[in-house]
């Protein structure tokens, strides 16, 4: 989707920004085809392996649920890094967000939880901004320090405020939220008559799979999930379609140039990093909403995964959403069904075979042979293995992310001044 800025809107084309986001230029068609191909493949694998979980609406619903915190953290990363500040501290800000959400949520309910989580995350962001922007500390150092600090701070705050064990709170967890966030389902299609559900249960080739996907994404969607999904195009519009966004991104591309044009570089970076922290904090809120409490260690490295999704997505909202979605899908599958993970081996075998053909076409025989060998390996594994050991299953999403990343051609482009400390007059 990186065409959005580079390719100018065609003079005649009056496409809206949203369409532009999802269907920009020639690549949009490629993405659409890729998507259809993937669904076809998934559908075929489902039928061959008999693993209905592969494309069931519940898997997609789980994927969405799992993708949201990662996606929010990645969005947080997007704001910071587009403004030129590398944010390794996403994990820490997310941790602060979970605590803030738990604390505010148990006293005042879910709306307060959202605000509390965002504010706590933003405080982490502010700290990062002070260190990196004002004091010029190396971004990675500051991020690592914030991760350490966040861990200590939440434990400390819990010790301070929950030590009495009031209402189910304790050193490692908050009391339950005072109220539950609402959730929504698409009427008629996904709830009530549940037409999509009927189609899904019919187990038709492709049709049921797509119904499963749609139903998974439209039934019982939490309010924060909705917010997160909306934040993706919203971030795109904000960053690529407004003056504010242009200024923010200019700080990540060439802060010196921005400075000479009167853009308040330091202030922009502050704003971006604080937003970044707030978004990571919202990611934490998403986790709290799942459990209805704050629980220490709840984030489990999802901030780092968010960072990976950001890079995976080439520092773009659509891309990072795709990265988070892929990860969420694989994770959901892994948590749902060990059998479905074995079915993925078949999928991988088919994909590798395709890669082999492609490489033969390019006359790169070594790569082709390698791909064939791995494809054969996957196929054999698929045919012989009943159930994978827990240890192996646990890293399915990580392995898949890595595989997709290494199979996809790499033309990633990070903001040019990302991670560089900017000091006025010293560039």
């Amino acid at each position: 989707m990186s065409t959005a800025t580079s390719a100018p809107t065609a003079p005649g084309g009056s496409r809206g920004a949203l369409t532009e986001l999802f269907l920009g230029g020639g690549r949009s068609r490629r993405i659409a085809w890729l998507f259809i191909g993937l669904m076809l493949l998934l559908s075929a694998v489902r039928i061959i392996s008999g693993e209905q979980a592969l494309t069931s609406s519940s898997t997609f619903a789980a994927a969405l649920l799992l993708a949201v915190p990662i996606g929010l953290a990645a969005l947080g990363g997007l704001f910071a890094e587009r403004a030129g500040v590398v944010n390794i501290g996403l994990e820490g800000m997310m941790v602060l967000g979970t605590w803030g959400a738990g604390f505010a949520g148990y006293q005042w309910g879910w709306v307060a939880a959202i605000i509390g989580g965002a504010v706590f995350g933003a405080i982490g962001g502010l700290l990062h901004a002070v260190a990196t922007v004002t004091f010029g500390v190396d971004h990675v150092v500051s991020g690592v320090a914030i991760n350490i600090l966040a861990e200590g701070v939440v434990r400390f705050l819990s010790e301070l405020l929950y030590a009495g064990g009031a209402e189910g709170g304790g050193v490692t967890q908050s009391p339950a939220l005072a109220s539950r966030p609402p959730s929504f389902s698409l009427p008629v299609l996904s709830s009530g008559p549940d037409l999509l559900g009927d189609v899904e249960r019919a187990q038709w080739f492709l049709v049921s799979d797509i119904a499963g996907l749609l139903r998974g994404l439209t039934s019982g969607v939490g309010v924060l999930t909705l917010l997160a999904v909306l934040l993706v195009p919203a971030s795109y519009l904000l960053l690529w379609r407004t003056a504010f966004g242009l200024r923010l991104r200019s700080c990540g591309e060439n802060p010196a140039a921005a400075d000479t044009l009167g853009v308040p570089v330091y202030r922009m970076k502050y704003v971006a990093v604080v937003i970044s922290g707030a978004l990571a904090g919202l990611g934490g809120v998403a986790l709290v909403f799942v459990a209805n409490i704050y629980r220490e260690g709840q984030t489990g490295g999802r901030g780092f995964i968010g960072l990976a999704a950001l890079i995976f997505g080439n520092w773009r909202p659509g891309g990072l959403a795709a990265g988070a979605g892929l990860f969420g899908f694989a994770d959901g599958l892994q948590l749902r069904s060990r059998g479905a993970v074995v079915a993925l081996l078949l999928l991988i075998a088919i994909l590798l075979l395709a890669v082999a053909f492609y490489q033969v076409g390019k006359r790169r025989l070594v790569q082709a042979v390698l791909a064939v060998v791995f494809a054969a390996g996957s196929l054999v594994a698929f045919l012989t293995i009943e159930e994978l050991p827990e240890g192996i299953v646990s890293f399915t999403p990580h392995l898949i992310t890595l595989l997709v990343l290494s199979l996809a051609a790499q033309r990633l482009r990070m903001p040019k001044a990302d991670g560089l400390v900017y000091r006025r007059g010293e560039h």
């Binding site: 050193v171 490692t172 799942v290 709840q298 489990g300 948590l335 646990s394």
Partner: protein, 329 residues
Amino acid sequence: SDDESSSGGTSGGGEGDLKVGVAYDTGGRGDKSFNDSAIAGVEAAVKEAGGDVTEDIQELSPNADGSDRAELLTQLAENGFNPVIAVGFAYGDIIGDIAAEYPDTQFAIVDTSVSEMGVDNLTGLVFAEEEGSFLAGVAAASKSATNHVGFVGGQESPLIAKFQAGFEAGAQAVKPDITIDVKYLSPAGDPSGFGDPEGGKVAAQGMYQAGADIVFHAAGGSGEGVFEAAVEAGQRAIGVDSDQYLSASAEQQAVIMTSMLKRVDNAVQGYIEDFAAGDLEGGSDILNNLETGGIALSTSGGFIDDIQGVIEDYRQQIIDGDIEVPTTP
């Protein structure tokens, strides 16, 4: 060995100067789980002995990676605390050596058998989790309308495997053809599965959507996610360790059918009382099971009142030894 252990007992057992050291598992006090349960037992025992709960108890938590566990135990022993109670099997690796180093201090470890370590001043407080889990399985199978239940474990480990094994055996004892979904949230060596409510929720959701109507969890903090999934699905869940019905929100109370009770508090309290009374028999385990009441099934909420007869029946068979509950699945 009898002499030594009783001497250990008498040296610390004098009225008033009972000073108990507690070394927690990661998470520490306030984990709403067995750390809290253990300290409750300690406090009850100390109070009973006329001690002061703030003065006479020293609690220590390990650091995040647990690398200073040995240091916790030695420091407690060095500073004259006796007995020293290690909460959690993570101490199993090191407690033997340390107990041997401080023969005048009595040590106890929760969840680890010490009978083969050959250390006289060390007691294992072990539980027959499989027996309680068996009853949970009986309850689940009896109540399941879909003939389909689930089990969510935290970290893949021998301890949680006991829960799974008992649960499966119990469910199959009632309905031999019952479907049982099993999922561990993290592999061996990765404790994150005990603190991952999101994973717990997704896993349980999957089970409910696949047709299960009752899910038993032994996943610590991740259980919160299992309950949430039950609330959303309108199905039932079974809690673990403590009576989770009592600490749950109203929505969750509607779905927590029962809990498999593991009375760490009772075990610890009993141990300290034995210590104070000077009748500790060191170097061996104190087994807590259905018979001793250290393991039980809760009835709060009254969801399983109607099948109490069945449960009691199986309970008696286990106590009588008529049913041998497996400890590995």
